[in-house]
């Protein structure tokens, strides 16, 4: 007698059309507008020479950064969220105040790392966001470990991490996914397939350009969603998080999107990115699409949307002022915090 085939790595059945209330949708809109405004302002500050290093924008990927963070529990006892470099919105939604993002970019004392790390290498225990050592798949094994801690303690918390298509070529990605599947931990992996890793297009990165298929290979239920549709990302994420909380093991979501600029503000992407693709994806801008859905499908008053945009403008303005006014940590702090006991020889 043959054993009946058992489907261990299925693409999950699409969840029944979720009812996202107008209030929820407007909340997502607020976070997306805030994300974009924060990034636009930060990019300007960089261009004015007021932010050191470089600037890495997530423009065009706000639907993912906001949609994946919104269903999570916030706070030190909430869900672990380890977003990658395009997900400034995730940090905001998960609790990091806007002014502290600017303080982080500026290296001020009020930065989440007290000036010890820069740009989107942000972390804070109060938000359960691990500090980001590298976004190149490094955080995947750590996220698996956090999820393992929750499982071991019987807590219904979830650990989430996101990464780009380039990260799927790294060993950490494969080792992390494999261990997550074997240990059946409550982790959600969000792949943001924006089709570019620095100057390398997805076609030169991998032969399996549908990234969710890689997760299926490890026995992790995986789906793909339209990464420029925040409602779709939010629904998929809500469903995946519920799956994890129910103790049913890890999930994987691939969000198909497009990187709307260079890897960083310093690279001349015009030299390697086809301009017609940029134009095509510009029409699919996630913020425009949500606005359209709010106005046309939900008949929400334009004045209400304008109100949100004005509120955000004020918030960002105040945040930059506060970060500007903040001081730098005392140079003596450079020598502190390596070990738990302050007098330990580093």
């Amino acid at each position: 007698m043959s054993t009946p085939a058992r489907n261990i790595s299925a693409v999950p059945e699409p969840a029944p059309a979720p009812r996202i209330s107008d209030e929820e949708a407007l909340n997502l809109y607020y976070w997306m507008v805030l994300t974009r405004a924060t990034e636009e302002r930060a990019l300007n500050l960089y261009r004015q020479g007021k932010l050191p290093g470089s600037y890495y924008t997530g423009r065009g990927q706000e639907a993912i950064s906001v949609g994946m963070a919104a269903p999570l529990r916030r706070g030190a006892d909430g869900d672990w969220l380890s977003p990658w470099i395009r997900d400034l919105g995730s940090y905001l939604v998960h609790g990091v105040p806007v002014w502290r993002m600017f303080a982080q970019f500026m290296g001020k004392a009020g930065s989440t790392t007290r000036g010890k790390d820069g740009n989107l290498h942000i972390g804070g225990y109060e938000w359960n966001i691990p500090c980001q050592v590298s976004h190149m798949a490094d955080m995947i094994p750590l996220t698996v470990g956090a999820a393992l801690a929750y499982k071991q303690r019987g807590e219904d918390r979830v650990a989430v991490t996101s990464f780009g298509d380039g990260a799927t070529s790294r060993g950490d990605f494969h080792e992390g996914l494999n261990i997550a599947a074997v240990l059946e931990v409550p982790a959600v992996f969000v792949a943001e397939n924006n089709r570019w890793a620095y100057t390398t297009p997805i076609s030169k990165q991998t032969k399996v350009t549908d990234l969710y298929k890689k997760a299926l290979g490890y026995g992790i239920p995986a789906i793909e969603v339209d990464g420029n549709d925040v409602l779709a990302v939010y629904s998929a994420m809500s469903e995946a998080v519920a799956h994890c909380r129910a103790g049913r093991g890890p999930r994987f979501i691939e969000c198909k999107t497009y990187r709307m600029a260079g890897h960083a503000a310093h690279d001349k992407y015009e030299s390697y990115m086809p301009m017609e693709l940029l134009a095509e994806w510009s029409d699919k801008d996630p913020l425009k699409r949500l606005e359209q859905a709010l106005r046309e499908e939900r008949t929400i008053d334009e004045a209400k949307l304008e109100g949100i945009r004005t509120k955000v403008k004020d918030e960002v303005h105040e945040a930059v002022e506060r970060a500007d006014d903040d001081g730098f940590a005392d140079p003596s702090e450079a020598h502190l915090g390596v070990f738990a006991e302050a007098d330990t020889d580093a």
């Binding site: 290498h121 050592v133 094994p141 750590l142 999820a147 071991q152 992390g176 261990i179 915090g337 070990f339």
Partner: protein, 330 residues
């Protein structure tokens, strides 16, 4: 006092800590039913079950990273890397994550994780399986590196390492596993990290070593004692934090310092200590600080070649005699 092996002392420390703290758990390859490649986890899987003694896929980068994540969330993972040679594929996780997270979080979150791993040479395991890489890690701030050389220290330091709030690379030694020694009966016995120990007193020369090389150093001291030369042997025990003061105190007494290690001398433990000794004891020295390490080659396989590459007692003794001759003692 009871006589037991280094291996058994480590096993007891793991057992005691698993029993004491429910947040402690073990993770690694083949450590469960198979009881680990070197049987340090013998009986623990049966006693504590598969969640507390967690077997993993062959995936060092993955499970070291998972250990870090679990530690950040408050568990106390004790990760076994089968030998220190295999940690090389997980270097990014050890150096870029474990050693940096407390600092980069502004001190708020630590990584209370122990990585246990044996190193050392002498069993004809060849170049990629005979290395003593601990000095590489000790060169990096943010991770403690210890290397016990006795049965009592193996027990006492492993317990302290597990209770430590920072990452600890706990370097065991393949040759040490079967070495026997005495251990205090006190179940609360612990040994602080970062303190060297004078394990043999002497007046003519200070010989500093760590891990299995301490055993060699003690044998050299016994041999030379027959000629009336008294060597003081300092067991470093910890490479970071480094207890340079205990070494300096000894050198102030003997006026001569020799550092022996199984790893390569170049950029090694001896190089670091020589710099510290020159600064702390410049006026006390009767001869330049000397070092003996493994030959600067990948470890060869055949027994005669391997012996030629190891820092054997004969080489340590020759260096000691050279130092004494240089400063006027025959």
């Amino acid at each position: 006092m009871a006589d037991l092996t280094y291996r058994e002392a480590l096993r007891r420390a793991l057992d005691d800590e698993l029993a004491r703290d429910p947040d402690v758990f073990l993770m690694g390859e083949e450590i469960g039913r198979f009881e680990g490649s070197y049987k340090v986890t013998a009986g623990l899987w049966q006693k504590y079950g598969p969640e507390r003694v967690r077997e993993t896929p062959i995936s060092e980068e993955g499970f070291v990273g998972a250990g870090i994540g679990a530690a950040m969330m408050g568990l106390r993972p004790v990760v076994e890397i089968m030998t220190i040679n295999f940690i090389l594929v997980a270097m990014d996780q050890v150096i870029n994550h474990a050693a940096k997270i407390r600092y980069m979080f502004g001190g708020a979150v630590g990584v209370p994780m122990v990585i246990r791993t044996p190193g050392g040479a002498g069993a004809q395991l060849t170049a990629q399986h005979s290395q003593s890489l601990e000095a590489w890690f000790a060169g990096c701030p943010g991770i403690k590196v210890v290397a016990p050389a006795s049965v009592a220290d193996a027990y006492g330091m492993l317990k302290t390492a597990i209770r430590d709030d920072d990452p600890v690379l706990f370097c065991e030694n393949l040759v040490m596993y079967n070495v026997t020694g005495t251990m205090p009966d006190d179940p609360d016995y612990t040994v602080p990290l970062g303190r060297a120990a004078v394990v043999r007193e002497g007046s003519d020369l200070t010989l500093v070593a760590h891990s299995y090389t301490v055993q060699r150093a003690l044998r050299v001291a016994d041999t030379m004692s027959r000629d009336g030369i008294e060597i003081e042997v300092v067991d470093l025990r910890s490479l970071r934090p480094l207890d340079a003061e205990t070494v300096a105190e000894s050198v102030r007494k003997t006026s001569r310092a020799l550092i022996a290690e199984e790893g390569w001398s170049t950029y090694g433990v001896g190089a670091e200590l020589a710099a510290r000794i020159h600064r702390l004891c410049f006026d006390d020295l009767d001869a330049p600080v000397e070092r003996v390490g493994g030959a600067e080659v990948p470890m060869p396989y055949s027994k005669p070649l391997e012996l030629a590459a190891l820092p054997l007692e004969s080489k340590i003794e020759a260096a000691a005699r050279g130092l004494l001759a240089e400063s006027g003692i025959a």
